[in-house]
């Protein structure tokens, strides 16, 4: 590979508090050689002029589902990486809710091999916290970690058993593994498919109160004060949960929190008359909740924005709302939809990018989400102003269940570099 220089580009890299127009030089090995105003390259370097565009570290998405193995008809490594690169995402934490579930060492070997052969992005697989995600028996944290598992999550399942949760935390604290919890009390959430609210009453659907989320977060954070481990709440959805987080953070408890871009951008009214693509977990809640989540990002109570990319085939969604599958795709629109929060003046640009790059990298303890000299040249280059309309059929995911069909967005990825190579451009 030849040396490359990206010129005249606005570089925003929160990891080094950089927001300036300058150059990025990438060496032959695909690493950042130098960056910034004064950066320059040898004459032989390949020059790419990016005037008017913005360069940020490739996005790190902490929650995405890849259909392999078992659900290849929904998504596979190839389609997921195409969608990711088109959205400027270069590192993906994949969820273990495949078939079979990733809960043992041989599955990890398979997934890593398969990902290496088929995917063009950096994959960081998660394994389940408990065997078969059943919430009874913890998986082999130590062995799985040694094979390359980045963290542990039961995805859409929650450890209900308090004793087990305390042991998981206690055990995890000793071997430095990341536990990612989906916060939902099963009894309170039984049969629910939407936020408990007037909307649920009008639609005649079983709602779930935000207490179901809050109660698990409260429980886990109480346990965490006793057994401090690397603990991450996958996605929160409500103001009530945020209050608990605030209280615990001010008491010095250390943990991290994520939020889905859907919960930041949409609310329960967007469900309209039974739009099943907006059936999500945690559910979309009130506008008040949405606004409080934005405040949560501003005040550093929320660290990460995820896509919660969950491809579902048409058949699973073309059902009465209560029966329809949960989730929506979103990895390709993650950045553009996040930029809406900048354009409508909800959040500063630097804050949004922090939550999409360096913050998740720090939580995962990976050397990504940064453009510091010596790091991999995973770069997302986008046009901050370009308007476009989301069309499901134009998205690269194998499944087309986007929650934001026909939405008008501003800001679109122009080019994505992976280890210095142009992996996507339009």
């Amino acid at each position: 590979m030849k040396e490359k220089i990206l010129t005249n580009v606005r570089i925003i890299d929160p990891s080094q508090k950089m927001d300036e127009i300058g150059n990025i030089v990438i060496d032959e090995k695909g690493k950042i050689k130098s960056i910034g105003k004064k950066s320059g390259a040898s004459k032989s370097a390949e020059k790419i002029d990016l005037k008017g565009l913005v360069a940020i570290p490739g996005l790190v998405d902490m929650k995405a589902f890849v259909g392999e193995p078992g659900f290849e008809y929904k998504e596979n490594f190839r389609t997921l990486s195409q969608a990711a690169l088109a959205g400027g995402v270069t590192s993906i934490v994949t969820m273990p809710n495949t078939k079979p579930i990733i809960d043992n060492v041989s599955m990890v070997d398979f997934i890593i091999r398969r990902g290496r052969d088929k995917a063009k992005v950096n994959l960081f697989p998660c394994a389940s916290i408990t065997r078969q995600k059943e919430g009874n028996q913890m998986t082999e944290f130590g062995l799985l970690k040694a094979r390359g598992i980045i963290g542990f999550s039961d995805v859409n399942k929650t450890i209900q058993n308090t004793e087990l949760m305390s042991r998981i935390m206690n055990y995890a604290s000793d071997i430095d593994v990341l536990i990612m919890q989906h916060a939902e009390d099963y009894e309170l959430a039984r049969n629910s498919c939407i936020n408990q609210s007037e909307v649920a009453t009008r639609l005649g659907l079983q709602g779930v109160s935000d207490i179901a989320e809050k109660i698990i977060i409260e429980r886990d954070l109480s346990l965490l004060s006793e057994y401090p481990c690397r603990y991450h709440i996958n996605q929160i959805s409500s103001k009530n949960s945020l209050n608990v987080i605030k209280k615990n953070k001010s008491n010095g408890i250390k943990f991290s929190t994520g939020v889905s871009i859907n919960n930041l951008s949409l609310n329960q009214n967007d469900i309209g008359e039974f739009r099943t693509f907006l059936k999500l977990s945690p559910p979309l809640r009130s506008e008040e909740d949405r606004l409080s989540l934005i405040e949560g990002i501003k005040n550093d109570l929320i660290d990460v924005i995820v896509s919660d990319h969950l491809p579902e085939d048409e058949e699973s969604k073309r059902l009465p709302f209560a029966q329809a599958a949960t989730g929506s795709i979103g990895i390709e629109t993650l950045l553009s939809l996040s930029l809406e929060l900048y354009h409508n003046e909800s959040l500063p640009l630097e804050k949004i990018i922090t939550c999409l790059t360096i913050n998740p990298a720090k939580i995962l303890k990976i050397n990504k989400g940064t453009l510091k000299e010596g790091s991999d040249a995973d770069i997302c280059i986008f046009d901050l102003e370009k308007p476009w309309v989301v069309k499901a059929e134009e998205l690269k995911s194998k499944s087309k269940n986007t929650a934001i069909e026909n939405k008008r967005l501003q800001g679109k990825v122009k080019m994505t570099l992976l280890q210095g190579e142009v992996a996507y451009s339009n």
Partner: protein
Amino acid sequence: MATAKKVSAIKNTPKHLLGIQNLSVLEAKEILTEAKSFIKLNRGSSKKLDVLRGKTQINLFFEPSTRTQSSFDLAGKRLGADVMTMNMGNSALKKGETLIDTAMTLNAMHPDIIVIRHQDSGAPNLLSQKVNCTVINAGDGRREHPTQALLDALTIINRKDSVEGLKIAICGDILHSRVARSNIYLMNMLGAEVNVIAPKTLMPTGIDNLGVKSFTDMKKGLDGCDIVMMLRLQNERMQGSFLPSKREYYEFFGLTPEKLKFAKKDALLMHPGPMNRGVEIDTKLADDINVSLVKEQVELGVAVRMACLKLYCK
């Protein structure tokens, strides 16, 4: 002077009756006016019309029903339609067919109207997007039961001339009741004041925003009411414990002659049926022809459904 041509508020075919929420006041009133004209016909000796001759009506019932199903059945037949009733409880669904597949299959037979009852809220809406005939909702989950509300309104109008200005209490299992929801929308629309009375665990979130006053005390809730609508305790939809016991429920929320005295002197009693005698209603009261409109509700149900079929299948 030229007489103005009568313009129907219900336009465009196919047009669906999915819920009272989607109706305008004009549309609701038109259905009620049309229904009135059928009351007399139904009481006469020759009950057959040919308004819907040549039309095919399919009753698609995914949930067991006695009165609604037979009412739609009769209504269609009296208007001259060919009526087919399908009880889906033990049919295609058990073989794994989805609602959409069933709908497409039936659609291929060119029906003009599909009447659907389904246990999932929103199922008629989904169906209406996939077929090219009229869809009439005969009850979906806990969302809406529009023809029940319309027949309740007609029953009230038949006795009290108008719904406007009346005070109506709806008591019982509001949480699981599609009848309550449809009635709240319709009675509000027609100018009544609506109270809902239920124990806290059977009261849905945000009910006050639907334009009602909510009470947990029968005495307060029934005060000054002209109409008392009792609802069935829907045990089949209840998962887990909502109430300590039926006995306790009857004590505080069951309608007895004593509790009825909290309402106006000439207050009338309604119930969408089927009744749990001794649970939500005193058995003698239920049969008291001076107070109870239950039989009239069933009778006028046919007229209302005839009106809906006629107006929506043009």
